[in-house]
Amino acid sequence: MIELNVNGKTVKYDGDEDKPLLWAIREDLGMTGTKYGCGISQCGACTIHIDGQAVRSCTYPVGALEGSEKITTIEGLSEDGSHPVQQAWAELDVPQCGFCQPGMIMAVSALLKENPGATDEDIDATITNICRCGTFARVRKGIHLAKKKL
């Protein structure tokens, strides 16, 4: 039994410790905003925050957590979709199918927390999520717009 701190709440997890956090979040905690896209840390669809850092949860075993870490999923990024990144995304209609976007938003929000003045070069170096619909042009615009809303 491990106690996890997810989106500000303490939850108990008594499943397999080898299980990646992605599946614990989706199946044991029933929060499906975090997506499975590749399972090998390539696509970023499963991105969450652990203590504010963007982490690809599909390869992060639950057992690797101490229990004291603060885990944030897309459901906990804001209460009502009002995080500056979510607002910018809404204004620019960034998503197409939207499947990659929870992970994209989590990656971007972690970047802007760390580096509120992120430049295009910073974005290129940090945001490596795959979007098969190809929303990158609007993602970039969205990041710059979100910076103004921080």
Partner: protein, 741 residues
Amino acid sequence: MTKLTSLSPSTLSRRGFIVGTSAIGVGLSVGVLSGCKDTSAPKDPKVDYSNLPPNPEVNAWVHIHHDDTVTVRIARSEMGQGTSTGLAQLVAEELDCDWEKVKMEFPTPGENLKRDRVWKDYSTGGSQGLRGSQQYVREGGAAARQMLIGAAAAKWDVPAEECTTDQGMIFHKASGNKINYGAMAEAANKIEPPSEVTLKEAKDWKIIGQPKLRLDTAEKLTGALKYGQDVELDGMLMASVKACPILGGKLKSYDASAVDTRKGVKKVMQLGDNAVVVVADSWWTANKALEEMPIEWDAGEFAEYSTADIDKLLDDGIQGESMPGNVKGDAEAALAGAEQIVEASYNFPSLNHACMEPMNATALWTEDSCEVWCPTQNGESVLSAIAPVSGHDISKCDVHKTILGGGFGRKGMPDYAVQAVMIAKEMPGTPVKLMWSREEDMRQGFFHPITKAKMRGGLDADGNITGLDIKISGQSILAALMPQFLEQMGGVDLFTFQGLIAPGTNPRAEDQTLKYTFPALKFHHAMKNPPIRPGFWRGVNLNQNAIYLDCFLDEMAHAAGRDPLEFRLAYLKDSPKMAAVLQAVADKGGWGSKDGRHRGLACIYGFGSYVAACADVSVSDNGKLKINKITAATDCGHAANPQQIEAQVEGSFVYGLSAMMFQEINYENGRPVQENFDSFPSMRIADMPEVETIVMPSGDFWGGVGEPTIAVAAPAVLNAIFAATGKRARQLPLKDQNLRG
């Protein structure tokens, strides 16, 4: 009633879905999306609508609630291309309602069958979403408006012709009467539907043509939107499947005892004759057990097949016999008499769709019904595929479409839903969610057809084309997926000539015709079908044909010493619309400016639209490509939503250029080599060029949007690479090549 969006993150639970159809009423169950901030708020705060029985629909397309919220029903699937918002715009325009109050929902294919296919075609492909349904959905909106007016006119006892509408209100000027749609919806339901409606003229449109935001964005930003992957039903189990990765291969043996006593594993079983499945209480558990279980395949006749064999097969095709697709004059003689002959060979590899959301389907089978929840581009084809497998009459089956996490053509196939039903049938009463791993998704593709082409062109002494010969060797989609249709066409797969077809050849191919006029031409196909399942991949055969034709024209222009723009325009005199988009990208893209930048052009007509691109690239000293900017233009006739068209153009470029730069599926021992994004990379934000989109609707037709522009990205970039390096890049993908080498 399953309202996906009623689940806010805080109330999310495993009880999100209520199973069964009895509560569904008219059966409109999945995917209600709100288009406005607060659709549930009553219009008049003094009126309590909650005591009123819900309004009946006005007609199949339009359901108006007491608070004036309008639910528009959309049959086509939404996979990110924005069709649902576009179609809602078309209905709302004719209905004359308040766009801020529009929502949409997807009627099930089962309901469509019960209602005599009132919503018509569910298939969502070929960039048909809007152009293939615009007429009848607009008529649906217009009919509903007329019925609302009829109801109000009867209530006021005035002639219907004297009533007008605006923003969801009906007015009768002479009497000063006015009333909102929500108050007339029930009475309108009783009005005889009009036998004829008059549609608005384009100049009067207020909603169509506007850059409206999508109706489904908000839920995509909070994780609340439920994709097929996220379906949850009471008591549901999860399944992972592995099918023989070699076409025609079978399952030989598997050792269930290695995993079936593991905690959480519920069932290990064979599926059909070529697959094995593990069902567990968690997908991770199921998939891990499947990965670790000893499985042996009976590989069958293609056990040794490899990419080298495919190469040889296609090369034989280039040397051997072919079938004509578009022939004009005597190209052979024209080439023989030419002053100069230009020759080139290009290829286009096998590709997986790699939708962001891997294939999945959830099925619930009981003694007397079968239901499936899944992302699909064609709910009706899923319904007709699952019914025989379920053993129930089709009227006892239904399919609940979810929003798709990408489709690109792959999710037009019902194979994964059929598997889910086969599993669920073994577990009566228990819903089972089958999810493919990314690896399974990559192995069990319907791959972009693999082809090569050899081009020969003749130039006269003045650098004019005398004749053009394009010989394509390779795979036919129709041979594999629609053999009857191929037979009807006398064995010639006309669609392998997409974009190169002579006008007037076949009514079903009029939207894919050649717009250049050449004095003589011979476009022919040597059909060579390797043991790979081909499928419809965004842009389909336009992808390679635009490269084959337009890169080769670029080669001819240079051989003739002529400006590639001027050269192309010389052969577009019969197609002012094509010339216009090409000229537009040249002008906006800086073609001909002496600024030291390297540019390439391309244009083609496909899916009923005229598209062109001007790419600006740099190639480093060590031969690495950087795409700086692409200027694109599309004349899709009517532009229902310009901002979404821009998004589709940008997105199509990412899809097409990812393939051009990085992607191919190779085969070894009969099976695909690339199984995930590490070996099948996709563009990231750092690779994304600036894209400027010129939407230039000429207004007298409806063309497609999702696909056509994908085809011009690669040839424009390849032509720009030549401008930068003086060397032609003819082998795709470019990934490891030194473009200067």
